[in-house]
Every structure is written in structure tokens, then in C-alpha cells.
Symmetry: C2
Subunit: 545 residues, 2 copies
């Protein structure tokens, strides 16, 4: 039996585009003589459709896509994820389902059982879980159809669910498993996925075809990396990361197995490639092609500019150099070095006149009150206005250059440097930004050495350094990691050997700055816990602050 | 049997404060000879705690609160909501539970069965549903303990769940029902709650004590309105809306019933009172006392200023009048009329100099490109900087004055008039803002008549009116209502008799402006579908746009 895996990049709500893309893959599979072609989870409507699922009109469009795909299910069976209707009067009105289309019709539908409702996932918000399981029989083979999370509660010491759907399906002795997924990237997730597929294959002793979504949807980056695993638990093939790919397999060969070691999973390289895809898909899917960002001469904006240039082409990344009276001379020099290296369109706009215009009006109101964060913020906000003016006038999207360490402790100005349509490195700790810079410079110095080596500074008052108000990043970041990613409380972190006063101060900073994160751009998610949709913390809270 | 209902205002994560408040109520109940005192859902930690529930440290603090309450459960039983641990190895690690504390210990715990996971609710994200049910026996009475949603699937034609927990508990023949709730306000919800309590009482023929949370937690406003209903389905008492209240009841009297018609439920009055509480709790719980906002002379900022003055005191509401070269003369006059009526601290800062400073730098870059939304946005953003400068320098929170109609169609400038720590009327359509103004003016003209009667305008270009780019609000708002609140698709709305071109244009505007709403302040929720946490729509989507 010949099986085609189509790892495609869908666009939420773009039924026409998604269906056309699948039909094109079906035509290719037919030419290759495939008997089954597999797409990913909620492929008709894209993943995650969120509250669009609450619109009957949206579901109707998905149903129509399934009907259209049926007309192409002649001589080939199609496995595709889409919402389906719960006809029972009780429970939520939809299922998250995998359809089996053959002979021009829907011949089988299996609903998803395990509905992830944690981190970035809200599936129980929309779907009723499956309560019945079966397999589909096609050309003499019995196939167990599963949807993403359905295979994820196997091989764990701490099961999140009370049922394992494949255990139920095994009663019908399937020959192999297909899993249609939309499993978003984080830098350790490709390895997790391999481990999970392996745990399932070793439990059930049959091969698995695991088809992932590929492409970015706002903050979520789907990395592909679809997996074909032989029944002996050996990896048979792994599709590339971060790109569409259609491949054809012979079930007999997969069953036999072969020696294949998979792709390398270097953390920094994965983050780099994920972010480049995240930028390019954000622009493409919104119908934009050009970006603008402020280039300060520091490492964050430099790394952001390089990845934007790789995603959009350097000619489409316009940078603004906006020195203030507190900027050091080398800031503009360092920024210009990058501008020239990449060939970026750029403008230099000193901000002093605008800052002075504000201070002239505000000085009588401020009276004798000393220079403080207010005046620093005005500088950052003047830059925000300039960035947005270019964005508005020329139809560019402003890229935000704030890193995760700054996002965490609120080291940034709301409506100032926190402006932007997309946060590029908001899920990358400062220490990881340095790793990205090294990775970018590995063959050729792209990021100016001075941008990497000088002490980080916001340059909003004379001689300012980040370390004036924050601990060094190699101390700050591990504490943040324990709190944000690991959800450790203060005592747990102190017990790891960190200074108690510092730990409590940092955790307090994280919590009192929730109001800023509430209003910042969507953050490209590259870790297991990014700021944004996957982390929901009260603004008006009194915990640790 | 004497039963005390304590409708209290909790603060998320403030275990010390919440526990002290409950202990004080227990002392009062003991003085009144009460045998049972009832608090609301997740009262130890406040509702909704969101991802704080993922911190073991947070749960430990809640457990300690329960232990402390136990020491006061002498001579009185305490019914209180709090998280509890799922000791079974499978499933989520927490339950959302109601504890029954008596004789100094936890004598019974019933877990919540129906976990709302829609709109603003995310409970399945954190909790495992109950799979076992019982009643607690105390002083000869059997009591069915339920948590909020547990009673909400009764009396509906479209059940959301597959189980009804009270049906299970009825096997033990309870004498009455206690429901501990945290049920947030919307303007029709108090009536919904009465209907639901009545449907349950009529089904089970026993009295119900329904205890709601009271107080605002960022965007969610809990209105109290706790309900005591006699077994004949007649309302026995309804606690006040929007305030804390402790009352004592004799079960015999409740069983007998009495004639009581409840409180009036005038939509506009409820919205007004909800917003005033929403503002005051936001400030108090964040430790702030003073607000700043821009006063344009228009109706939105006038209504916002009045409600802020009622919440915080007029002396704590500082307003900025920031005329531009495009402002009409009466804008400042209308704003000053309100300033004088309320006695608000105010500053007048014309924005022309700052606008000109920007244009001087940008003109060479813009070249011959015509005046457009870019220049309009610069004016709005200059005002944003000024508002934030006052906010930063004097420790005020900036209030956002955008209404729901503008939020919906993106008629507002990101980082400009969309700035602010709290959106006061972001869930109030423009047509409802007029109703609020009339309500405020019902006994005395507070909002200047001219602010109400003049055609709405952003005044960002000469002679501009909202109706230049938007339909009249009495056409726009009903279309938005059908799309946002009712989740109707374009054809459904067109079939109601609206112009097809207009409907498609408006729905497109709503969807393409999701990126703005992603970055705006939390919105005080007063309707059944507010922008914010209860409405989750993809930014990168291709549905209807």
C-alpha cells in the first residue's frame, strides 16, 4: 500500500486556498500511484481557528471543503482533519475529527478524544471529546485514525487524561496508525514528538504515520517534522522542519524498517529557523511584504533585523536610527555597520527636537520633580511614534525587538519600544539572543562585534546600563526560567541557591508588569512557555507582589 | 437552622486579606447564632486565579487558608470554595471544590462537575471534573453542595454537558442546596441567574442558597446578587448588586417562603453601577487612587470621566484637554463645562508644537505623499504620550475612553487614543453610551448637552465626522451586535434586511482590526460578549476579510 504524507502550510479561514492546496497534493499523489493521502489536523480551516469555530457560517465553509475534497477521493483515500457536528443533543456542538474520504464520499469519521486545554491550547472550549472508537478498513488494511493529542498520554508517568483512545482502537487489531496533528514548535518539541511516537509504536507494535502542520499562525509556529515510524520503533523518515513537503511511502518498506537517524535538533538553529518562518508567514498571511524597525546599535534590534532580512529580503526591511542626546556615538556607528552589511533601507532621525517639544509643554506641569522614568519613556515613545509613522505612511509592519528577559521584568516602555505588530524575540531570553547572534555570525560577521560585546543599555539617561537596575542576565535568565517555564515558587528557586532578596524582587517585577504584557504584540513562540496566549495571569493579583 | 450568606469581595492571590475577611464574617455569623456560613467559589484565592493555579506554591497558600479557616469552624460549619488536590494518578492535578468545614476540620469536599470552558472561562484548563457525588449531613440536615456551573445545565433545551450533578446527589435526598459561585456580571445575567436557580428549585423541590462573588477582577465584574429561593420556586431574598453583604436566614422561614419581588434590573443602571465598581476595584486592588484621561469635549470621554469621578472621587480624576489645529472651538468649551461641573483637576496642552516637531522630521521622508491616516495617528499619539507622561510622573492610571463600536471596527489609533491601563466603556456600544449619558443626566445635567447632541468626530482633520467613514451608529451597532454577540455570519445578517455591501464591509473591518484589540487595555465586561479574554480570534486569519 502506497501512502502519501502531505505536510502543508494552511491559512486560518482561507478555505479556498487550503482546499486548492490539498487538491494539488492529491493530484500529485495520484500520479505517484498513492492509495492514501494524509493531511493534518483541522486542515480545511487551519489551526488554531479559535472562536471562528463558534460561527455556524465558518463550519459550513469547512463542511463545503470536505464535500469538495470528496469529489477528488476517487482512486485514492483522503485522510484529513476538520470539525464535525455533534448530532447528540447533549455536549458541545462540535467534534475535532479526522475524516476518511473514499469512493467520493465520507466513509468514516473518528473524533478526537484528548482535547488539549493548557498552555496555548483551548480545545475543550470548542469540542466534545470522542466517546466511541473504531478503525477504518480500506483495501484490506485496518487503520487506526487519531488526532494529535490522542497519542500524547502514552509513556508518561503523569497522565493528564483518564482514557487512552488507541487502547480502545486496538480491540479491532489495526495494521497501522495515522495521526493527523497540528503540534506547534518549541525548541525541544521535535525530540518530544519522536519520543511520543516511539512510545506508541512500542506499545502497539504497528507502524505510525504522523503528519504535522507546517507554517506559522501569528504566534504559533508549526514546524512540520512529520514522522514515519516502523513497527520495531525505529525512525523510518522525518520530514523537513519549517517547510512544506509531500512524500510517498510504501507500507511494506515502512514495516520492514531501515536505518535513519533523523534531523539534527540544535536549539539555536531551530529557534533561528522558526523565527524566520514566523516572520515571513505573519507578513504573507496578512498580505504585507515590508517591515520597519528601530535599529539602536544594540544586539536585540540587530538580531531582529537580520532574521527579518532573511524572512522578507533585506530590501524589505527598513530601519530607523533614532539617536537621542543620551545615545553614545558608537550607537549610530554600530547600527550603520549592520545597515551597510545587509544593505537595509534606512533613515536617521534624531529625536531631540520632538523630545524638547514635549518637555517644553510638560515642564510647567512637572515643576521641580526630578528627571525619572517619565522622561525616559517620552524618548522611547517619540521613537514609537516615528516607527509607526513610517509603518502607517508606507504600509510596513513595525517589528518589536524586545527580548524575553525584558518582557518578563517589564524593562521596556509601553507604547514606546514595546510598539510593534509582531514581537520577534519576545520568547528569547537575553542570554539566548547572544547565542542567536553567535549562530548568525558563525560563518561571516553579520552582527557587528561591538553590538555583541558592549554592555547592554537602553541609553535613556547619561551612562545608563541595564545592570544599573537589573542583575546580570546570566543570573536573571535562569531565575526567570524557573518561574516562567517551570512554575516554581519563590522558595523552590531560593533553595536552588539564588539570593532570596533578588528572587523575590524579580518574581515581583514579573507579576507587577502583567499589565504591560497584556498590551504588547503577539510573541513568536519558541519555548515551552511564551508570554502571550499560552500564559494567562491576572493583572489585578496580589500573588508575590 | 440558621444560615449566613457572606457575599464578599475577594482579591486574587491575596490569601491573607481574603482569609481575614472570611474570619471576620464568621465572627459576625457566630454572634448571630448561625450554624452554617457560606462563602463563594474559590474564595481563598479569589476568582479567576488563572495560571497562578499552576504554581504549587499558590495552591499551598490556599491549603493553608483552608487550615486556618478550620480553626474557626467551631460551633459553626463553613462552606467555602477552594482548589483541592486530585490524588488519583490520572487526570488534571486539581479539582475546583467546595469544602465543608466543621468541628475544626475538613469534614466533606465535593468537587465541581461542570467546568465552564467558553467565553471568559477556562476551567478545564486547570481542573479535573468530579466523577463522584454525595451530600453532607450536618445537624440532622442533608445538604447538596454545588459549585457555580453545576446548576447551569438544568432547564435548557441545548445542554452543554452530558451529566447533571444534582441529579446524582438527589439519590441521597438532600434537604436543601448550597451553590457557591463566581458568576460574572453582564447586563442580562442577574435575570438569567434567577431563571436558573428557579429551574433547579422547581426540578428538585428543595430550597437553594446561591452565594455569588462580589467585586471586580480586572475585566470581570462580579455583581453579587446572591439568591435565596424557597422550595416552591419563589424568590425569598436577593442580596444587593455590586456591594458586599452578609445576611442571616432561618431555614424554616426560607422553606415557608414569602412574597419578595427582587431588585430592579434596568440595563443602563446596571451597566453604570458595574463600571463604577469595575474602576474602583481596579485601582484599589492595584494600589492606585488617581486616574488621568484625555477629555475631548465628546461624549465618550465625558461619560468615562463622570463614572471615574464616581468611582474615585472627582479630585482623583485629572483630565487633559489637548486641542489640535483641527479641534473646533467648542471642544475645549464643552470639556471645560464638564471640568467645572465636576471640579476635576485639569491641564490644557495644545498639541500643535509637538505635532509640528514630528512633521518637520518626517516631511522630507514623506515627500509629496498626501495627508492621510498617518498624520491623524500622529496627533492621537502625541496625546497618548502626554497622557502617559502625567500617568508616569504622578502615578496615575490612564483610563481609555474608546467605546465598543470603535473597538469593533478599529476606529482608533493604536498607541494613541487606544492607550490606557483600563478600557472603561470598551464593552459599551456608542448607542449605549448615549443611554449612559441620559442616565447620568436624569436628575441633573452633568454631561454637557452639547457633548451629547453634536455629531461624533475624532477632529483629526478639518470638518471630520465619524459618519464620513462609518455608517450611523444606529445602523452600525445592531450589525456589530449580531456578529460579535450572536456570532451570526454575513448571510444571516443580510437576511435580517441590512445592506449586503455594508454588512460585508463592517465584518471585514472587525476581523482586520483584531491586531489592534490584541494590544489594547483590559475592557470592563458588561455584555455577554466583550472584547478581551472572552473573545479569542486569530490575527492572521482569512475569514471574511
Amino acid at each position: 500500500m502506497k501512502i502519501t504524507i502531505a505536510q502543508l502550510n494552511y491559512h486560518i479561514g482561507n478555505f479556498e486556498g487550503n482546499t486548492a492546496k490539498m487538491i494539488s497534493a492529491i493530484e500529485e499523489a495520484k500520479k505517484e500511484g498513492a492509495e492514501i493521502i494524509c493531511f493534518s489536523e483541522l486542515a480545511t480551516c487551519g489551526y488554531p481557528p479559535r472562536d471562528f469555530l463558534e460561527f455556524d457560517d465558518f463550519i459550513r465553509l469547512s463542511d463545503e471543503s470536505i464535500q469538495e475534497l470528496c469529489t477528488h477521493a476517487q482512486g485514492i483515500a483522503i485522510v484529513v482533519g476538520a470539525p464535525s457536528h455533534n448530532r447528540h443533543p447533549k455536549g458541545k456542538s462540535l467534534f475535532n475529527s479526522v475524516y476518511f474520504l473514499s469512493d467520493g464520499q465520507i466513509s468514516f469519521v473518528q473524533h478526537k478524544t484528548l482535547l488539549p486545554t493548557y498552555d496555548v491550547f483551548d480545545e475543550y472550549r470548542y469540542f466534545e471529546p470522542a466517546k466511541a472508537w473504531n478503525v477504518v478498513e480500506y483495501k484490506g488494511k485496518k487503520i487506526a485514525l487519531t488526532v494529535c493529542e490522542d497519542i500524547w498520554d502514552v509513556g508518561t508517568d503523569d497522565p493528564l487524561y483518564t482514557i487512552i483512545p488507541l487502547d480502545e482502537m486496538m480491540k479491532y487489531a489495526p495494521d497501522f496508525i495515522i495521526n493527523v496533528s497540528a503540534s506547534p514548535f518549541n525548541f525541544s518539541h521535535a525530540q518530544n514528538r519522536l519520543n511520543v511516537v516511539k512510545a506508541n509504536v512500542e506499545r502497539y507494535k504497528i507502524p505510525m504515520f504522523y503528519i504535522n502542520h507546517c507554517g506559522a499562525q501569528t504566534e504559533l509556529i508549526f514546524d512540520g517534522g512529520s514522522i514515519i515510524m516502523s513497527e520495531n520503533g525505529a525512525l523510518y523518515d522525518e520530514l523537513p522542519y519549517f517547510q512544506e513537503c509531500i512524500r510517498h511511502y510504501d507500507l511494506n518498506e515502512v514495516q520492514k524498517g531501515r536505518s535513519f537517524s533523523g534531523q539534527t535538533k540544535d536549539k539555536t538553529a531551530l529557534i533561528h529557523d522558526a523565527i524566520v518562518l514566523g516572520i515571513s508567514d505573519y507578513f504573507r498571511k496578512l498580505g504585507f511584504s515590508k517591515a520597519v524597525l528601530g535599529l539602536s546599535g544594540g544586539i536585540d534590534s540587530a538580531v531582529t533585523a537580520v532574521m527579518a532580512a532573511r524572512a522578507l529580503g533585506p530590501e524589505n526591511v527598513r530601519v530607523l536610527l533614532m539617536p537621542s542626546q543620551f545615545s553614545t556615538g558608537h550607537s549610530v556607528d554600530d547600527a550603520m555597520e549592520l545597515v551597510q552589511k545587509l544593505g537595509l533601507p534606512h533613515d536617521i532621525i534624531p529625536i531631540k527636537d520632538m523630545y524638547d517639544a514635549f518637555m517644553e509643554k510638560l515642564s510647567p506641569i512637572f515643576g521641580d520633580l526630578p528627571f525619572n522614568v517619565t522622561e525616559e519613556n517620552i524618548q522611547a515613545r517619540v521613537r514609537g511614534i516615528l516607527n509607526m509613522a513610517i509603518s502607517n505612511k508606507f504600509g510596513h509592519i513595525l517589528l518589536n525587538t524586545t527580548n524575553k528577559s525584558e518582557m518578563a521584568v517589564g524593562y521596556g516602555t509601553l507604547y514606546g519600544d514595546l510598539c510593534g505588530g509582531l514581537s520577534v524575540i519576545g520568547d528569547v531570553y537575553k542570554t539566548e539572543v547572544y547565542q542567536l547572534a553567535e549562530y548568525i555570525n558563525k560563518d561571516d560577521v553579520v552582527i557587528p562585534i561591538n553590538s555583541i560585546s558592549k554592555p547592554p543599555s537602553a541609553e535613556l539617561r547619561p551612562g545608563q546600563k541595564d545592570s544599573d537596575s537589573l542583575p546580570e542576565y546570566d543570573i536573571l535568565d535562569p531565575i526567570l526560567f524557573q518561574y516562567v517555564e517551570k512554575r516554581k515558587g519563590p522558595q523552590d528557586i531560593i533553595d536552588m541557591g539564588y539570593d532570596p532578596v533578588l528572587v523575590r524582587r524579580i518574581l515581583r517585577l514579573v507579576n507587577i508588569n502583567e499589565f504591560k504584557r497584556h498590551q504588547t504584540a503577539p510573541v513568536l513562540r519558541v519555548s515551552s512557555k511564551a508570554f502571550g496566549v499560552g500564559r494567562r495571569v491576572p493583572i489585578v493579583g496580589k500573588y508575590l507582589n
